[in-house]
Every structure is written in C-alpha cells, then in structure tokens.
Symmetry: C2
Subunit: 687 residues, 2 copies
C-alpha cells in the first residue's frame, strides 16, 4: 500500500502521522523525515495535554496573492490563540515557504473534544453504547485519546471550519498589513469579513490520498453489491453517506416493482397497447377476462403501497444509520448561530449566551409575505412559459401547413428553442433569487437555512420537470402520449446521465486531471495541497437528490402507464452508484460536511410525492383504456367511473395513512435508547 501511495503522489510527510496512529505498517523512513522537517513550523498548542509530535494537516486556507507576510503571521497567530483570548485554539502551519499564500490548519485534541460536545455528537461509551459526548467524562469514551479513531476525518475537518467560521473580533481591531480604513468591529465574524476583502480566498478540507485510495477500491472498483457506508461517512461525512445510503436502499427496493413491471409488461402488455388504437377489435379479449381489473390497475395500486412502505422502511434505516454515526441528537439549536445570522444582540433565553436574536414571528412574516409570493410568481412564470410554448407550437404548425416553406419549417423549431432558453434563464434567475430570499429569512441554524433553500429550489425544479407530464395526464388526458413521453424521458435522461456522469468525467480525468497528477508526483507537499485547491468545488448533492426524486416521481406517479419504468431505473441506478462515487472521489475538491441526522428536506419531498402519487394514479385509473372503452360503449356511466375512482382514492389514502402510522419511524431498539437518554438526563437534572 505504501508503494501504491507513492505512485499516486501521496503527501507522505503530512499523512504519515495518521498512518502511525492507525498502526499501519507504513514506510518508517518517510515518517521520521516528515516529523523532523515539518513539526517545528506548527504553532504551539495552548493546552499542555494536547501537545503531540504528530500533527495531521486537515484544512487548507488559501490567501489572496496580495496578502503580505505580516497579515499571514497575524492570521496564524489568531488561529493558534486560545479561545478565551478570542482565537480559534487550532494549530496553523505556514507551509514550506513562510511567505507563501497558504496556511495549513490542524486541531489539537481538546479543541476537537470540546467542539464534539458543543455539536452534540454521540460517541461510543466504554460500555459499547453510543452516548452524547461529554468533555468532563471524556476518559470513559472509547478512543478519546486518539483523535483519528475517535472522530471521523470529515468531523475533524468540519470542526476546524466550524471554529474558523466562529472566530469573532473581541474588540475593534486593525489587521496588520491591511489598509488603515479596514477595521474589524467588535463581534464581527473575522473569517467572513476577511473573505469579503480578499485576504482569505478559500478554505478547503484536504484529501487523504491513502484513505481515498482504499475507499475507492471498496466502493466503485469491481462489482461490489454493498457500498462501504461507514467508510464513506468516515471520509466524506454524514450528508454524503446519507445520500449514498438512500441511493443504495432505494435501488434495492426497486426490485419488487421491477419484477412486477416485467411480469405485467410480459403478460398484458400487448392488448393494453392496442386498445387505444384499435378499440373494437380487441373487445372480445376483454370479455374473456371478464374483469375490469387490468395489470395497469394492479400496478397503480401496487406502486402506491410500495412507495409508502419504502419510505417508512427508509426512515427506520435512516434512524439506525444516524445512531451508528452518532448524529441522532445533534445540538445545533444550542450551539452558536450560523455566521450569516443577523439580529439584535441579546441573551439567548435558552443557553444564556450573548448572540444575535431574531424573533420567530418576524421570520414567519418574511416567509409568508415575501418568500411564498415570489416562489409562487416563478411557478406562475413556468406555467405561463408552458402555455406560450403550446400556443406558439400550434401557431407555427398552422403556419407551416398553410405556407409550407423552408422558413416555416425552421420556424417549427422556434417554440421549443425559445421555451428551453426561457426555462433556463428563469431557472438561473430563480436560483439567485432564492439565495437572497433564504438569506433574508434569516434562519438561525445552518441546517434550517440549507433546508429552506433546498426546498425552494426543489419545488421549482420539480415543477419544471413534471409540469408537462401533469399537463398531458390531467388536461390533455392522453394516456398513449403520456406513455410515449415517459418512455422517451426515461431512456433519454438515462443516456444523458450516463454520458454526463461516466463518459465526460472519465475524459476529464484522463486529459485534464492526469497532467496535474504527473506534476504532483515530484512536487512538494505544499504543491500537492495547492493542487487540490485547483479542482472544481464539489457542487453539492442537490443535483443527485433531484435526479432520484424525479425518478421516484416517474415511478410512483406515472409508472402504471409504462410498466417497465422500474426496470429501467434499476439498471440506471446500478451504474449511477458507481459514477456518483467516482465523481465525488476523483473529480472534485473534498467538501466540508456538517454532521446531519437524516436527509433533511429530501425526506419530506419523497413523502409528499408518495402522497401525490395516490391522486395521480387514481386519475390514471380513470383514464385507463379498458375503462374508457367501457364508458364509450355505454356499459358504465362516466359519473359512476369517476365516483368509483374517488372512493378508491379515499380508501387508498386511508390505507396509506394507516400503513405509515403502523410502521414505527424508528426501530424499537432506538426508541429504547432514546428513552434511556431521556431517563438519564431526567435523573441527572434532579441531582
């Protein structure tokens, strides 16, 4: 492994300490060398118990090119200063060249442990249970003296960022080396302010090439059926781990609908397809079966129940993962507010800490009076765009049949092109708008901010994707068109996905990243770090989640008109897992990952979709060719048909609600565990 590490250009000197701690048989020569050459430059730790001769580089801070050494020294000092004196209590390293534009940051043990307590992370207690970490009881937690075993890499890096972001000026002060007119005011957020004037260009977590190599081997090389979820959590943090866990869970749960779909497509696919085209000829076949129940209907009911059960089971799985990763009861509410939070300075009534306060009702007002109308407006614009598109298409179609020239022929494409341009522009404007809207809503917690932002983008994107399908299903009431559209969407989107997610990444890696890599191999550690900063930043999981949500939407909302949906999705997802894993490991910077306990707003989005699916499926049942045929031949009044569908819908919603209520959201053992925590804290409070 050590050899492989060399080949890949591992910054051995920096990563060695962690290898030693993990007891791996790494090359001894390099470890000595690195310890000797780097340690003198790390800032001293303020707390004597944390002094250690092995320091792991965690985070890279990139400074602006114009930053003078004076400012850099001041920054390094600030990072190393104890908290009570307004510093971050971390360790900084100026890089090989003390005047260079990077600072490498690490964290001593006590700072990490205190932050773990503040974040409310759970860690393994000496009796093997997960317990909320307590700094004063730290000796009873497993591995509490070995930070590499105690915390995941993602947690350590996030804590460094958390501490840096939390740096506030204790009094008005000038930063050495910066112009006179730039002063930090009391309680200013130093990191944000320095970022705004270009002193700090970037803060990014560093890859650990050895670990990354092990992870990729276990993850996407070969034909593994199981993803190394714990290792993903260790390396990339819980948000990424939750995404891949869900992707995994969801992919496997596609098996039943895929088999069902295959069976139905095989057994009844033929007559179903022919009915709309040639109703009367196949009348006899229908009479034979004697029922009005078709595969169509069975699949509709099945997919409704399936989606409920899957989401309920996922909640349970999510709770166990969250327990395993120690994020089951995060204390974000009781920690410092996020850096962007504004408000009048006051005493937090709960924690007694002095911090900005912002009344809840005012946030509610802003959401109700500003955010909701603006989002509504944009959704209205989407609908307007769609209407213009249909109107325009009809007009040019007519024009073409009337005039039939080359000009009109090219004009035929105009509505589509205009619509695509319009939609893309709208999306760009919208994304900028919701950023400011969410900032304006002024959420106290980072997770709340993220969830509200995601929810806004989500609604718009989803609407964009499904408006056309809903239009076909509910207004045009044209099942064959819906089927055609769905099939082409599924196949086209898969081809596009595979291309963008596998082929392009591969090409990029081969022809863009590889030259970088060669350059790295004989460069210094510092260059290697600097090169990581050259990679594009990780774009976040939004695009990945929305892809799953849209898939889930196709499947649960419309799959009854195209039974093979689940099969196609299953095939797609098996490659999706690998391409996503490859992307995050190789093509982007490592992202910072705050610890999270679940999928956040995505959980809700999937559940809402699963509810809407009942309505949609029941409506598609009404449109089902067999029943429409019956109506046309007068065997059944359309009022009765509609009434029947409404009754079935209400029953199914009832069944759905009952299923959701009957399957507990947490496994029994987690409920027990939570009760134990509650009981213990009740007892502790009484003493």
């Amino acid at each position: 492994m050590s050899k492989a590490g060399d080949d890949e250009g591992v910054p051995d000197g920096w990563s060695q300490p962690s290898q030693l701690l993990e007891g791996k048989a790494a090359g001894g020569k390099q470890s000595k060398l690195s310890t000797a050459s780097f340690l003198p430059s790390w800032t001293k730790v303020s707390c004597p118990c944390c002094a250690s001769d092995r320091v792991e580089p965690l985070v890279l801070v990139k400074l602006g090119v114009k930053v003078v050494p004076e400012t850099k020294r001041w920054l390094i000092k600030l990072i190393g200063t104890p908290k009570k004196d307004g510093g971050a209590d971390l360790m900084a390293h100026p890089g090989e060249d003390a005047t260079g534009d990077i600072i490498v940051v690490s964290a001593p043990r006590c700072t990490l442990q205190r932050a773990v307590e503040e974040l409310g992370l759970c860690k393994m207690y000496c009796n093997g249970d997960m317990e909320a970490f307590s700094y004063s009881d730290r000796d009873n937690f497993k591995n509490s003296d070995n930070m590499e075993g105690f915390l995941t890499l993602a947690e350590r890096q996030y804590i460094v960022k958390y501490e840096l972001d939390g740096l506030r000026a204790q009094k008005d002060l000038r930063v050495p080396g910066l112009p006179e007119n730039f002063t930090l005011k009391k309680r200013d957020i130093i990191w944000q302010k320095l970022g705004s004037v270009g002193v700090i260009v970037d803060t990014l977590p560093l890859h650990n090439p050895n670990k990354l190599k092990d992870l990729s081997k276990a993850w996407y090389f070969g034909n593994q059926l199981v993803q190394p979820l714990d290792e993903i959590n260790e390396y990339f943090g819980s948000p990424v781990a939750f995404y891949f866990s869900f992707l995994d869970f969801y992919t496997w749960s596609l098996l039943p609908p895929a088999m069902m779909g295959l069976f139905i497509a095989y057994s009844s696919g033929d007559d179903q397809k022919e009915i709309p085209e040639a109703g009367s000829q196949v009348g006899e076949i229908q009479e034979d079966s004697g029922f009005v129940i078709s595969g169509h209907m069975i699949l509709a009911v099945f997919s409704m129940l399936w989606s409920t059960v899957v989401m309920e089971m996922w909640k349970r799985r999510s709770a166990s993962l969250s327990y395993r990763w120690g994020t089951l009861n995060l204390a974000e509410r009781f920690a410092e507010p996020r850096p962007g939070y504004r408000g009048e300075l006051g005493t937090n009534p709960v924690t007694g800490r002095v911090e900005p306060l912002f009344p809840e009702w005012q946030r509610g007002l802003r959401m109700a009076l500003v955010s909701v109308p603006v989002v509504g407006l944009f959704l209205g614009l989407v609908v307007l765009g769609m209407m213009c598109f249909y109107w325009g298409e009809a007009r040019v179609q007519k024009l073409h049949t009337d005039w039939d020239s080359l000009l009109t022929q090219t004009l035929l494409y105009a509505p589509s092109v205009l619509h695509i341009v319009y939609t893309n522009m709208l999306a760009t404007v919208y994304n900028t708008a919701v950023q400011s809207l969410t900032e304006y809503e002024n959420h106290r917690e980072e997770s709340a901010h993220q969830n509200h932002l995601t929810a806004k983008v989500l609604v718009f994107t989803f609407f964009n994707y499904f408006a056309v399908l809903f239009h076909i299903a509910f207004f045009k009431r044209d099942v064959p068109l819906l089927r055609k559209r769905l099939a082409s969407l599924l196949i086209v989107s898969q081809l596009v996905n595979q291309t963008t997610e596998i082929v392009i990444p591969y090409l990029v890696d081969r022809y863009v990243s590889s030259p970088n890599r060669n350059e790295k191999e004989d460069g210094s550690e510092e260059d290697k770090f600097r090169n990581q900063g050259m990679m594009p930043p990780f774009p976040g999981l939004f695009a990945e989640y929305i892809e799953l949500l849209v898939q889930f939407g196709y499947l649960s909302l419309f799959s009854c008109v195209f039974p093979l949906t689940a099969v196609l999705l299953l095939l797609n997802n098996l490659t999706e897992i690998r391409s996503d894993a490859y992307k995050i490991c190789k093509l982007f910077r490592k992202p910072f990952s705050p610890p999270v306990g679940d999928m956040g707003v995505w959980q809700i989005a999937f559940e809402v979709l699963s509810f809407v699916s009942v309505v949609s499926n029941c409506w598609l049942l009404v449109l089902s060719p067999r029943l429409q045929e019956k109506c046309r031949r007068g065997e059944m009044s359309s009022t009765d048909l509609l009434l029947g569908a409404v009754i079935v819908e209400h029953l199914l919603i009832l069944v759905k609600v009952i299923i959701a209520a009957l399957i507990p959201d947490e496994p029994n053992w987690i409920r027990k565990k939570k009760e134990q925590w509650e009981y213990k804290s009740m007892q502790a409070l009484r003493q």
Copy 2:
C-alpha cells in the same frame, strides 16, 4: 363561610387543618376540638421531618363487613410502614370506632414529594418558572413545606391511591384474620388481591365541603361567563379541568359559525328550502344572482376551515393549560407500570427497575389480530342491523298497504323497536368485550390503557350515531331528509340532554340526596365520610366528551344543510356547562384523577372528524339543490360537477394541511421553555 359550612354539614374537624394552613378565618373552637379528638389515632409517620400536628383526611377505604379487627389493624400497619419495608409510607386512621369498616388515609410530606418527583409533575420554582420537581432540590420550590399549597387536592388524593395501588407483597405472606388458604405471593399487588376477596370494598377520595362550596359558587351559581378552571383543576384534577376547558373553549368558538349560520339562514334560507320541492319556479331567482355559489357552499367551506383553526388553537390553549398545571412533561413511562400489567419479571432496560416486561411486538400482534377484527365485526353488526331495519321497515310498510289491519299497524313499529333493542344489546356486549380486549392488549401505562379503551368505545358509539346520517347523505343522497333528520336530532337530543342533565339531577338531589344530607348534619365525621361512599360513583367523562364529539360532528360534517346547527349548539352548551358542573359537584362521588397533559385520544378524535368533514362537505356540495338543479336542466354535466367537487376537495385538504402546519401546536413561550428544560438536562447529563 364558616356558618355556611355548618349548614351544609361540613366535617369541620377533619377539614380544619387545611383551613388553618390556607390562613382562612375559620371557627377556632372546632379546630382545637378536632385536633384534640383525632390526632391520637393517626399512625405515626416514619420520617421525622414529616411529623405534623395537622393531618388532612384524603382518602376513604371501605372494608368488607366481614373483615375482622385483626385484618384492619394489619392493613393500617401496612399503610403506615415505610416503603423500604414494603409499606405505603402513608398515614392511616381507623375512624372513630377502631373496629368499624372504614380506614381514613392521609399522606405525609415526604411521601407526597417523592411521588411528585416520580410522576414527573412540574411545580413552581423559586424564580417563578415551572420546573420538574426534584426531591433533592425541594427547598427551592415554592410552598414545598406546605402540602396544601404545593399540591392540589386532586393530586394529593391521587398520590394516596397511587401508593396504595402500588403496594406489592415483598415475600409470600398470610394476612391475619383471613382464611388459611389465602396467601399473598411475592410481588402480588396487595390492594388488587384484597379487593378481589372482598376485604377492601372501595377506595374513594373525600370531598372537602368548604372548598366544594366555594367552587360551586364560582362555577355554576349565577351567570359567570368564565369558568374557574384553576380551581376545578385544584379540586377535581386535570382530566376534569381539561374537559371543562375544552367545553368552554369550544362553546366560545361556536360564535363565528353561529353568526354565519344565522346570517345565511336569514338571507338565503327561504329559496334554499324551496328549490328541492319546486325547482323550476325559482329558476329565475338563481339566474338573477348569476353565480352557482350559495350560502350552502360558503357555509360548507367556512365550517371546514373553522374546524381546523379551532382544533389548532385548542392545541395551543391545551399546551398552556398543561404548563400552568404542571403536567407538561409527565414521566409515566418511567414510573411503575399500572397494576393490571402482566408480563415476565425482568429488568426494565430504561429505568433498571425490576418489573413485568411485555414485548411491544406482541402487543402489536394482539391488537392487529384480535382487537381490530373484533371491533370490525361489531361495526359490521351495526351495519347489518341498520340494513335489517331498512329491509324490515320496507316489508312491514308493504304489508300494511296490502292488508291495512290493526295488526299490521302495530307491526309498523316492530322494526324500530327491534332495532333499538338490538343496538342497545350490541352496545352492552361491545362495552364488555372491549374491556377485556384492552386488558388483553396489556398496556404498560394507565393512560395508554385508558386511551385504547376510549378509542374503541368511541369508534363504535360514533359509528352508531352517524351511520344513519351517512346512509342518508351518501346512499339515499336525499338532502331534505338529511336536513329534517339533523334538525330533529339536534332539537330532540338537546331536549333529552337538558332533561337528563338538569331536571333529573335536580329531582335526584332534592328527593334522594337531601334526606341523606339531613342525616349527615348531626352525624359524626365518620358517618359523613361513609355517606360519601353511598353516592353513585362518577361515571367518567366519556359520555360528556362523546356528546361534544357528536355535536362537533353534526356541525362540521353536515351543518351546511342546516345552517342553524351552530346556534342551537351554542345555546345548548351554555346550559351544558352548568349542568355538567352541577352533576360533578353534587351528584357523584369525587373521582380520582391522574394528572394528564391533554385530552388524550379525544384530541385525535376531534381532529379526525375535522378531516372527514372535508370529504363530507364536498359531497354535500355535489348534492346541493342548486347544482343538482343545474345538472337536471343540462346546464352542467354531472361528471363535470363531480370532477369540480373532487378538485375543490383536494384543494381544501391541502389548505387544511397547510393551516395545520402553519399554526404551531404550542405557543412560542412554551417551546422556549421546553428547549430550556432540554438544554438544562443536557448540561446536567454532561456533568
């Protein structure tokens, strides 16, 4: 007041201590007398700090007539024995005659305080906030040395019952004076076992006549618009107080629909009523208005939204009451299981206490495989009965028209009579069945047991009440009949209620209770206590709640066909408050009231009803005379009408869900308070 007390036969001697503590100017003469004559007989308190010369009689234990003095002495000793020796740590008094068939029980301070901690009640801390009571921190709670001010009367009495019920044999033992073959086995519940062999006939809390008199004055004498909720909670405990709070809240919230109903009945009542009978004549009037929107529809939509808002606001009110009464975070889960709980003896994984354990999944299985089918069977029998009734009625009607004799005339009544007999028998059998079913489900907590029992009875009763109305609305689709039926139900049920709840109680009190009362006046304290045992036991709040639920059902489900519903209900409830108060104060024994934090299952029942109301109202909209008329004249296809109603229904459900999500279930200050508790216990746990 002291004089009034004498007139009413107050047992001054026993109640005096509490008066002294409350600092009331009561007759000094009697207080001395009682203290002198009674104190020698109370058992000694084991804890020296609780010794007091004033003991308040709280609970009366009635023994079987055959119980020998030996057994009584043993029981008194058991009640007074400290807990660690297997006793109840209470105080017992043998009554005036040491061999008589009563024992009066009271509780020393430490026992009460420890129980308050175990139950998880909140009490006022020295800083004015409510905090979970902690025995070790007791000196910092207000009034903690004065039990009459610290705990409510209802709480003190409940704690005595809680301790008596919790008595368990520490080893196999024989009870002196009972036959040889009766032995208590280890861990047997003594009170239950002695009850089953007739040693203990009854355990009842004692009235405090002075307080009762004050309470009734503030409550139902005169024209108060506000009920003395805190005093009700003090005297009767939180379940009763929650019922009256809800009754009060609900009655006031009837004002908007009542005004709306009056307005609509006045402005559009006439043409509405005539349309079904004489459609074509009023056609022009409709054309005049130009809209298809009638008062009918406005009322339907209004009552749906109204019911949502009312229930959401009630949740907030309920949370504040619960905070005020210290029942916001009860710790029933962590206390001893209820006496009837069976299971294999083991260690509770949460509390570490040795107690019977019963796996959750087994309870779930019993509920799914036994309870649900049995309840379903009974509901089926109700429907069957209704069908038989309709069938029978049609048959005798035909018979009567065919034959027309005196015999057939009397036969006309047969189906109704048979149906009533059948329904009543079914209800009796059902009530017995669900008792055993719920016992079989083996719930650990008393509240869970009660809620499951109530839910079962509730479903059946509700079904019984509404089956006919639903049948008329959904199958016969006959709005005029529904209107007639609803009006008669409302008026008849109110007349019946007023009779049973005011006239009969008054008569009973005048001619049955008054003789008792005269007898009391010159009897001893003991006789007065004994007389309380002669009153009928309090039948519980089920009948009261179901009455409200049925009212709420009439209003939210069907009121749009009879706009005056809310007005009639408002009038009814204003008297209902008084009659209910009179009943509970005068006509029954005082009930034991476990502290509760909300209305329990009733909350859910009201909310479910409020959801069903959307479906029901939308359906009634479809049946609305104006729209049906349009259909009949071909201005609108019935499919379109139905489709419109379905869309409106879905939109309204969406609005309802959004309203429910937007109105927080707890006021902001309670949320803050809870967060404070959570933060404090988190901090405590860390130390």
